[in-house]
């Protein structure tokens, strides 16, 4: 399980973030003592850090600058400061992404998984059981037979694969598609999913995607 460190002084927000991350299959570690945040950042050995800019006694940007001298652990800045200047500064100090509050929880999770993937240098080839998922070719390959996926199908499959075994809601799928400039409607999503199922069936995996009524889909 990936460890994600939350450095956020607003208690309500911190608690809800922890719940969100836990539900999404991460292990959240929330900082509650802000006297030696810098030390904690180095010692916890997290896979990713969510860092607020405004913290008691210390500025998130300074922390980041300091942290970057020793560690390449990905950092996402979470802030309610809505200025481009802060964003450019944070990025120049080595932040991997910058998200302003309030954030769409699904988008936050998408960004987290994107940053994690980038830092692990996940190749363009991923595996689902004995199926090879190539994001470069945009295809699924099993036992030498290949199914070409459309962009939408790739986005859907990628999200299901990232959260394999968990329920992915239609809302989450929709958000992921829209986030990739595919402004589809409800019907189009259903069509895309049934096409994806069809392609998986061609690879003799007709039951790979399971429907959970009124909840969403699970990639088994």
């Amino acid at each position: 399980m990936k460890k994600i460190m939350i450095i956020e002084d607003e208690k309500a927000l911190r608690d809800e973030l922890s719940v969100l991350l836990k539900n999404a299959g991460y292990e959240p570690i929330a900082v509650t003592n802000y006297d030696n945040v810098s030390e904690q950042m180095k010692n916890v050995n997290a896979d990713l850090i969510l860092l607020d800019i405004n913290l008691p006694n210390v500025n998130g940007e300074t922390l980041l600058q300091d942290f970057r001298k020793q560690s390449g652990t990905p950092v996402i800045m979470l802030t309610s400061r809505i200025t481009e200047i802060d964003e450019v500064l944070s990025m120049s100090y080595g932040a991997d992404d910058y998200i302003t509050k309030p954030y769409n929880p699904t988008i936050l999770l998408l960004r987290i998984s994107a940053v994690l993937k980038r830092s692990e240098k996940v190749g363009t080839m991923q595996k689902y059981n004995d199926v090879e998922f190539s994001t470069v070719k945009g295809s699924l390959i099993r036992n030498g037979s290949e199914q070409i996926l459309t962009k939408n199908e790739m986005i859907i499959f990628q999200l299901l694969l990232d959260r394999r075994g968990e329920i992915v809601t239609r809302d989450d799928l929709m958000t992921a598609l829209w986030d990739n400039d595919e402004f589809v409607n409800d019907n189009a999503l259903s069509v895309n999913i049934s096409r994806l199922r069809g392609k998986l069936a061609e690879l003799r995996l007709p039951k790979a995607i399971e429907t959970r009524k009124k909840q969403g889909y699970v990639l088994k």
Binding site: A12, E16, V19, I82, I85, E87, K101, N104, D181, N185
Partner: protein, 331 residues
């Protein structure tokens, strides 16, 4: 300054000179001074008056003409007192010193207001920053508890908060933005995701074309602008929003078009005016008349051109022009 006006202004002095001259004539007649001597004395007196008038006139004329010229040429008239010099005649000096004094007091007065305004703006920024925290917490709670009902209202609250923030920013004389290349595609997708629930609920289709360009602007301001335009389209019953960019050699033109109810022709000239709600605002729900006004002000500050076309009952199209190299247009 005209000679006639100058003489008219000195009418009383000349009247006194005239009366004095008549008295002198009477005295001279009484003392039986010869006619020639009287004429010569009169001419000498007249000459003295003419010389004094001419000297006085040209001295003031040169000063006031220069003052007038400066006033006409000045873009900011209140800087006049910085431009003119202290004159060498008494009334001019008194006037000059008065002007300096009042100007100084006015400057202090304005500085005071400017400071208050700035403080207020800083407070708004801080306030927005603070209120975003509970909003963010609530949004996560809604998501974690699977309660979508409140999320919609929260989004409305967040939109209103952003309005206040950008209104405060648009009126601010200081530069609190940065111009850098911003992906139009990314910014639009963010706004679309943000408004996805409402767009889908209203069954509005989005079409985009050629958005894969970088434009020189402030990303946050641009996303506010696009958000406002999208909000308007949703409010005024569009079923399709199409966003197209046209990449020209010297500029990029963005067309934000919807097929909503459109704007009546007689309202078109005023749609960017403050607090203008127009017919649509009256007949449809909730319009503050601030959205497009703020959009226009932000565009002006960033140096982008913004205009609108519409046919009532057919479409509304907002056109924003981004210069490719117009940093110098930024205000």
């Amino acid at each position: 300054m005209k000679m006639a006006d100058y003489l008219k202004d000195r009418f009383t002095e000349h009247l006194i000179y005239g009366i004095s001259w008549v008295l002198v004539l009477i005295f001279m007649a009484a003392f039986r001074i010869s006619f020639q001597a009287t004429v010569i004395i009169s001419l000498l007196l007249l000459l003295a008056v003419i010389i004094a008038d001419a000297w006085g006139y040209f001295r003031k004329k040169s000063y006031y003409d220069k003052l007038r010229y400066c006033l006409d040429e000045l873009d900011k008239k209140y800087l006049l007192s910085e431009m003119v010099e202290n004159p060498d005649f008494l009334d001019g000096r008194i006037f000059y010193e008065t002007m300096q004094e009042t100007n100084k007091s006015m400057c202090e007065h304005i500085a005071e207001y400017r400071r208050e305004n700035k403080e207020f703006q800083e407070y708004i920024e801080l306030w927005v920053h603070e209120i975003k925290l509970p909003v963010a917490s609530l949004q996560l709670m809604c998501h974690n508890d699977g309660n979508a009902k409140y999320a919609e209202q929260l989004k409305r609250i967040d939109d209103y908060i952003e309005n206040v923030l950008y209104y405060a920013r648009s009126g601010n004389a200081e530069k609190d933005y940065i111009i850098k290349p911003v992906s139009l595609k990314r910014t639009f997708a963010d706004i679309a995701v943000k408004n996805r629930e409402e767009l889908q609920e209203r069954n509005i289709a989005l079409r985009t074309e050629n958005l894969d360009v970088n434009i020189m602007t402030d990303g946050k301001w641009l996303s506010f602008i696009l958000g406002q335009l999208m909000g308007n389209s949703m409010k005024y019953k569009a079923s399709e929003i199409s966003v197209t960019a046209d990449n020209l050699p010297d500029r990029i033109v963005l067309y934000f078009r919807d097929n909503g109810i459109g704007i009546p022709e007689h309202d078109m000239p005023y749609i960017f005016d403050k607090s203008f709600t127009g017919e649509n605002g009256r007949t449809h729900k909730k319009s503050t008349g601030m959205g497009l006004y703020i959009v226009k002000k932000l565009c002006d500050k960033l140096g982008h051109g913004v205009s609108a076309q519409s046919v009532q009952g057919e479409f509304t199209e907002i056109v924003i022009t981004f210069g490719k190299n117009d940093i110098h247009n930024v205000r």
